[in-house]
Amino acid sequence: MELAIFIVLAVLAISSAVVVITQKSPVYSVLALVSTFFALAGIYVLLNAYFLAMIQIAVYAGAIMVLFLFVVMLLNLKEQYYVENPKKIIGGVLGLAFVFALLFPIFEIEKNLVPESQMPVGDAYNIGIRLFTDYVFPFEIASIILLIATVGAIVFTKKHS
């Protein structure tokens, strides 16, 4: 049962990811990306990471992709803006090589160095405890990253004085 759900979600995720890069209309790409995020959220649920799944939907699908869609629609790009690029083939070959590099490890996953441990439930409680004890330092740094990004956005968009 779990495997069946996983396969459905994985196929959905991968096929929509392919649509993202093959579609010429940017709006379709964004919508396909949204569906990838949903499939990923489903996979997180299968891994017991409910919290992560919900955050994935709320933040990525609910906020970030809406902004993407907003910008794409505002620009209202037409398909003729896309130029055929001969470098595409090189990119494709490299991409395939990349896929194979990622496929290799999958077939020997049992050779992992770490013993399979009990999978903890990824609920808000466990994540919160880890974030505010062991990972409190990188957690705080993340706030600096956000601050920098905010300042950067303002620096680049502020009106001249």
Binding site: L31, I57, A61, G62, V66, F70, A124
Partner: protein, 355 residues
């Protein structure tokens, strides 16, 4: 009968109940809105069909279904067809995590198909431990229906409506989420069942009035109701995102809007007004009757907020767009941040209030 089958049957029953409640509720709410707005404007409103107008919504529904389904030539077909579905789905999905009645204790159900080892029956489709986040994420994807619909119609007005909707949703999601955080702080859990339980044992969370206020305003914005219906805005955008929808596709937009209204009211009740909690009454005291009472009380509370929604819609004028952004980012966001901090401080100072 094994436990799995039992669970399955009851889950299906619960789903059926919630869906029926929402969809029937929608017809009632539409009628109520029309009658009430008529009252506000000193008119009569629909009062002929069936008993004093009760059938009006059904008649309208039949009209919408049998109407010719026009798909304009210039639309982007796939997205155009998908949009009403995408709009409808989250509106109905939200109901899955709302607890709509007290738990039925084992041994109280007399249905003949049950085995002897029946466990307590929780009146909630799925009591997941991240229920509130589910609510936040599902409401946040509700905007896709509007945005897709607006874009697919390929005309300026609809696109403008879609743009407004997406910006508005993003802006008001933050206060919404933050005011929910205040509730989570008080309840100490993300599970809605737990939140109702905490309120039942202590005070209702309306105690945290600023959070409630922010939540209420944000919910108004998220449901695209007046004074926040800039995505629709008949006068400027000729109905915005659903200008070129006809027949039942239009009907689905309408349905989704009102379904959102009901589920949002249900959430306000669950988070701030004790959910199905009947004040000063022990729901488990009288068996099935007590449970039934809790369900009815829950419905009454919901109707009160639905009424509030309608009342506001027909009393207040629409925002201008800059006012909308101003309110969202410069007023609600700081207030909700202050609410979170304040709630956290108060929770530390008065530890015994809830836990």
């Amino acid at each position: 009968m094994d436990a799995f089958t039992q669970n399955l049957i009851f889950t299906v029953l619960k789903i059926a109940f919630v869906l029926t409640f929402t969809l029937l509720g929608v017809t009632m709410v539409i009628l109520a809105e029309r009658r009430f707005s008529a009252f506000i404007q000193d008119r009569l409103g629909p009062n002929r069909t069936w008993f004093g107008g009760l059938g009006q919504s059904f008649a309208d529904g039949i009209k919408l279904i049998v109407k010719e389904d026009v798909i304009p030539n210039h639309v982007d077909r796939l997205v155009y067809l998908l949009a009403p579905v995408v709009m409808m789905t989250p509106a109905l999905m939200i109901g899955a995590v709302i607890p709509f009645g007290a738990t039925i204790p084992s041994g109280e159900l007399w249905l003949p198909l049950l085995g002897a080892n029946l466990e307590n029956l929780v009146l909630q489709i799925a009591n997941i431990n991240v229920g509130i986040l589910y609510f936040v994420s599902v409401t946040s994807i509700g905007v896709y229906g509007i945005v897709m619909g607006g874009w697919a119609q390929n005309n300026k007005y609809s696109l403008l409506g879609a743009l407004r909707a997406s910006a508005q949703m993003i802006s008001y999601e933050l206060p919404l989420g933050l005011s929910v955080v205040a509730v989570v702080l008080m309840a100490g859990s993300l599970s809605l069942g737990e939140i109702v339980k905490v309120q039942q044992e202590g005070f209702w969370f309306i105690l945290n009035f600023p959070a409630f206020l922010v939540f209420l305003i944000a919910v108004f914005a998220e449901t695209n109701r007046l004074p926040f219906d800039l995505a629709e805005c008949e006068q400027e955008l000729v109905a915005g995102y659903h200008t070129e929808y006809s027949s039942m596709k239009f009907g689905m937009f309408l349905l989704a809007e009102y379904a959102n209204l009901i589920t949002s009211s249900a959430f306000i009740v669950t988070l701030f007004f004790g959910g199905w909690d009947v004040p000063f009454y022990d729901e488990t005291a009288h068996g099935l009757a007590g449970v039934l009472l809790s369900v009815i009380v829950f419905a009454i509370k919901i109707s009160f907020f639905v009424f509030l929604f309608i009342w506001v819609r027909w009393s207040l004028p629409r925002f201008r767009y800059d006012q909308l952004m101003h309110l969202g980012w410069k007023r609600l966001l700081p207030i909700s941040l202050a609410t979170v901090v304040g709630t956290a401080i108060l929770m530390v100072l008065f530890k015994d209030l809830y836990h």
